[in-house]
């Protein structure tokens, strides 16, 4: 196997180029970093099992209808499971989107607009999803 040797080092970023920590932000970015890793591991397990049950096993989506959801959510275990999946996925995805917007938004004003829009959609989805899971009354 050949070893890649760079011909000549190009100038790397200097300390002055790096994003400076804002005052009063505390350790938020550190906690966000830890959260992405912890939630990521949990989501691998929760999502792959969810996808297998809903999309792969026993005909996948073919069997999913109102009666199927009723049977599933008659068991509190699946409501808690789905709530954990919803919450972790939205916070993990929401934080990922936050980082991406910070990378690409070109002005402070646009950043505020994009971040507000993203936070609103994530927040509304979390509320709607939570209501969907816990307000549901099984029938049939």
């Amino acid at each position: 196997m050949s070893v890649d040797v760079p011909p000549a080092p190009l100038p790397r970023s200097t300390a002055a180029d790096r994003r400076q920590p804002k005052m009063g932000k505390g350790n938020f970015e550190l906690y966000a970093w830890v959260f992405m890793r912890v939630s990521g591991v949990l989501l691998v397990l929760l999502v792959l099992a969810h996808f297998a049950i809903m999309h792969v096993l026993s005909g996948g989506l073919d069997r999913v209808n109102f009666a199927f959801v009723s049977g599933r959510w008659a068991n509190p275990f699946w409501r808690v499971y789905d709530f954990a999946l919803l919450t972790l996925a939205l916070l993990h995805g929401g934080n990922g989107l936050r980082v991406i917007i910070d990378d690409y938004a070109r002005t402070a004003y646009r950043r505020l607009v994009y971040q507000s829009l993203a936070a609103t959609v994530v927040g509304l989805t979390l509320v709607l999803g939570t209501l969907t899971i816990f307000a549901f009354t099984p029938k049939g």
């Binding site: 011909p7 792969v56 005909g59």
Partner: protein
């Protein structure tokens, strides 16, 4: 191609980074739609079943298969990123890990391709 003064740019590391972002955003946007359609269970059984029935066709099957592929990639690549951070050999072995990741990707994709792909072919 002329190598620039970095082992990163234009290589596997950069492209998996791009794919991780793109797949993450795509999965999140799917999730918004998924929560919205699932909310129909609290509107009425008929509304929910009617919408679910519109998903039973080869086109949505292809989207479903695409979702499976994105999720499997994002899950495995995320685990590799975690190993960069927490395994002392993580950075040094990043390229070998990508090969392991590729093998696991194929293994995990097989059941999804068989189940969803089989259904697409039957519905065509």
């Amino acid at each position: 191609m002329q190598r620039l003064g970095t082992l990163y740019r234009g290589r596997e590391g950069m492209w998996t980074w791009v794919l991780h972002r793109v797949s993450g955003v795509a999965i999140l946007f799917y999730l918004f739609a998924h929560v919205a359609d699932q909310a129909l269970v609290n509107v009425s059984a008929e509304a929910y079943d009617r919408v679910m029935d519109t998903y039973r066709n080869p086109f949505v099957g292809l989207l479903e298969l695409g979702l499976a592929v994105l999720i499997i990639f994002h899950a495995l690549n995320g685990l590799r990123i975690i190993l960069f951070d927490f395994w002392s050999q993580g950075i040094a072995r990043q390229r070998q890990m990508l090969w392991v990741q590729a093998v696991l990707f194929v293994l995990l994709a097989i059941p999804a391709v068989v189940a969803i792909g089989g259904k697409i072919l039957k519905e065509l």
